[in-house]
């Protein structure tokens, strides 16, 4: 090699080394937050988080990865971890937090919990998810209620329905009335997740909170393979009959649009539908669209809580930034803003919900009474009641039942078998 060539090579190597070294220097007070909130109001709220952290001298990299349900985001999280690139926080919720706790990768954010007095301000039911072996490793962002029935007032009026249904028989009678007028009675169906989300309140309504917990939390085979489950499945079948077949493959927000625009009468969906209704310019609880607790579950509350887990950082600055992030996520200012857009309510019970819509106010009130009367249950369809494999077993069984002629008895038996297999995989 001639001299000039050697020099050029050396320069090139130095150049690469400098390029490689630069991000490491800049990364010291920056944290990556992996999430799947890419849509409209959720993305806006995440930007507020970024701004609030910037004011505290922490640079947040908002790693929003498209794909509802977060499969893609989780895939990226795992890839990063295997590459040794630890993010600051990631959107992981429910029982899965415990599985992440086992990996030993999570940071202890007790300091943030103490500063925000989570023990007092956040309900114990939610707190328990955030702790691994007694220490806080995650922070909650929101509190969703699943057992809602959304309805279009004009469609109900056209079908001659004066008040929204209060029990199962009323609901079925109302669906028939809407169908007789040639409109879509129930917007729903679609994929397994949507079927499970609809089944969530149906199961609670059929069996009550105690049975619901036996089935979806304790995974008790006797409770699953029971006449109550058969009855619940029969009811899912009844709902299916009033759901147009050609809606298969659509998303929940499409269904919300059908109700908002007066093409369908009802939708069974969690209160993230609130955010979608607002986006479409109709305020739930307003003159066009109403919300009512799913018939027969007025005193109950099926909850879903989105949260972030925090990863242990190598630098002291990184650890300090993690605590600040956890504090900010649970600060009244951020929670009020974020949840207003998202349709949920803050996890903090000590803040007043000014500017929230009537459905959200109802949600807070019903959470408090349900909590007192032990009528709170964790949503199985949103991965809150148990870990991945059994949840998948329930969803697969419902999916199979919904899209075939399987009898409710056979479906309950198949569900029991599937859950037994999945239990062995823990």
């Amino acid at each position: 090699m001639k001299q000039p060539a050697k020099r050029a090579l050396a320069l090139a190597i130095l150049g690469f080394a400098a390029l490689a070294a630069e991000p490491a220097l800049a990364d010291q007070t920056s944290l990556s937050v992996i999430n799947w909130w890419t849509a409209g109001s959720e993305a806006k709220a995440m930007n507020v988080l970024v701004q609030m952290m910037k004011a505290q001298g922490v640079n947040i990299k908002n790693d929003a990865i498209a794909g509802g349900g977060g499969a893609q985001a989780r895939t990226i999280l795992k890839t990063r971890l295997m590459e040794g690139e630890t993010p600051g926080a990631a959107q992981i919720k429910g029982v899965e937090i415990q599985q992440w706790g086992h990996t030993g990768l999570l940071a202890n954010v007790d300091a943030a919990a103490k500063a925000g007095d989570w023990d007092k301000n956040i309900p114990t039911e939610i707190d328990n998810y955030m702790k691994y072996k007694g220490n806080y490793v995650a922070a909650p962002m929101d509190l969703h209620r699943l057992n809602w029935l959304w309805y279009n007032r004009a469609v109900l009026a056209k079908a001659g329905i004066k008040t929204p249904p209060k029990d199962w028989d009323e609901l079925i009678a109302d669906l028939a009335k809407v169908q007789a007028k040639g409109m879509i009675p129930m917007a729903g169906g679609g994929n397994g997740w949507m079927i499970a989300t609809e089944f969530d309140p149906i199961a609670l309504e059929t069996g009550g909170p105690e049975w619901y917990r036996d089935v979806f939390v304790k995974l008790d085979a006797k409770a699953i393979n029971s006449p109550t489950m058969v009855k619940a499945l029969e009811r899912l079948r009844q709902i299916e009959k009033y759901t147009p077949k050609s809606l298969a493959g659509r998303t929940w927000n499409y269904d919300t649009g059908l109700v908002a625009h007066g093409q369908a009468a009802f939708q069974i969906m969690g209160d993230w539908a609130n955010g979608q209704f607002e986006f479409l310019g109709v305020t739930p609880g307003g003159p066009k669209v109403g919300c009512v607790a799913f018939p027969g579950t007025a005193n109950d509350f099926i909850y879903n809580v989105d949260s972030f887990i925090f990863f242990r950082q190598h630098s002291a600055a990184g650890r300090e930034a993690t605590i600040k992030l956890a504090e900010t996520m649970t600060s009244p200012k951020f929670q009020l803003l974020f949840n207003k857009y998202k349709g949920s309510i803050p996890d903090l019970m000590n803040v007043s919900l000014t500017g929230y819509n009537p459905c959200q106010l109802k949600s807070r009130a019903q959470f408090l009474t349900a909590s007192k009367e032990h009528n709170l249950v964790p949503s199985f369809s949103q991965n809150m009641s148990t870990y991945g494999p059994p949840t998948g077993a329930f969803i697969d069984s419902l999916d199979q039942f919904y899209t075939s002629n399987e009898s409710p008895q056979a479906a309950a038996a198949a569900m029991t078998k599937r859950v037994e297999v999945a239990k062995s995989q823990d």
Binding site: T75, Q99, G249, Q400
Partner: protein
Amino acid sequence: MAHSLMQRVGGKDQVIAGLMLSPTVLAAIFFIYAFILWTVWLSLTRSTILPSNHFIGLANYHDLFGSSRWWRSLSNLGIFGGLYVAISMAIGLLLAILLDQRIRGERLFQVVFLYPMAISAVVTGVAWRWLLDPNFGVQAIVRSLGFTHFQFAWIDDPNFAIYTVVIAAVWQTSGFMMAIFLAGLRGISPDIVKAARIDGAGTLRIYRRVILPNLAPTFFVAFILSAGLAIKAFGLIIALTGGGPGYSTNVPTIFMYVFSFERGEMGVGAASALIMLAIMMVVVVPFVILDARRKV
């Protein structure tokens, strides 16, 4: 020393060629075979959300074959793979024979038929989803022509949705099959055909007895390629049906993705990936052996 090595392996050119290829070979060994071995190991462990080294034997395979969703995926692969390979090869061959008649504008037709292959699977899937949607697509169009009772809602029917996947996949790759068969047809010496004609054979007979037997290697290539595409199909199905209604259009690739990454059952996912590899080998290996024997 260096000199003798060069001589041993057959000269400077070969050493350079070896050196140039070695990164590729090393990369292939690492990224293909090492990862296959890792997947084998994962399938024998209790890996859930992250890989783990907790050995559990064949339990994941037991769970896999106890899952009706997996059986559905396998039978769907059978239906989809069988129909897709057969139909796309048949249409490809037919188009190639028609194009081989020295017609005017042959180039234009070639481009038109090949074009679907240039479109990504996801775009194909989305386009066909709208075409097959009873509310907007074929059914709505035919009904708007006055046939108000016309029914074509396969995509919403769990028992028929898998056939919509066949339609979209056939549409996408028939042109490609045509290109392969056309190349094969052009490779057959016109002299043989002429000789057969002089012997008094008709066109049909020439195709059946002379041209098609000579196309055997082309059939082999077309089969291997389309069978591979069928087993690997993922994006098209995700875009077209999302694996639904329910899980009625799940195939092993979708099953593997869902269990490895969504469900947190990485061990079961790895087991399903290896079964897929086995299926691929069952399909491909006999042909490779057959082909190797023919060449010897």
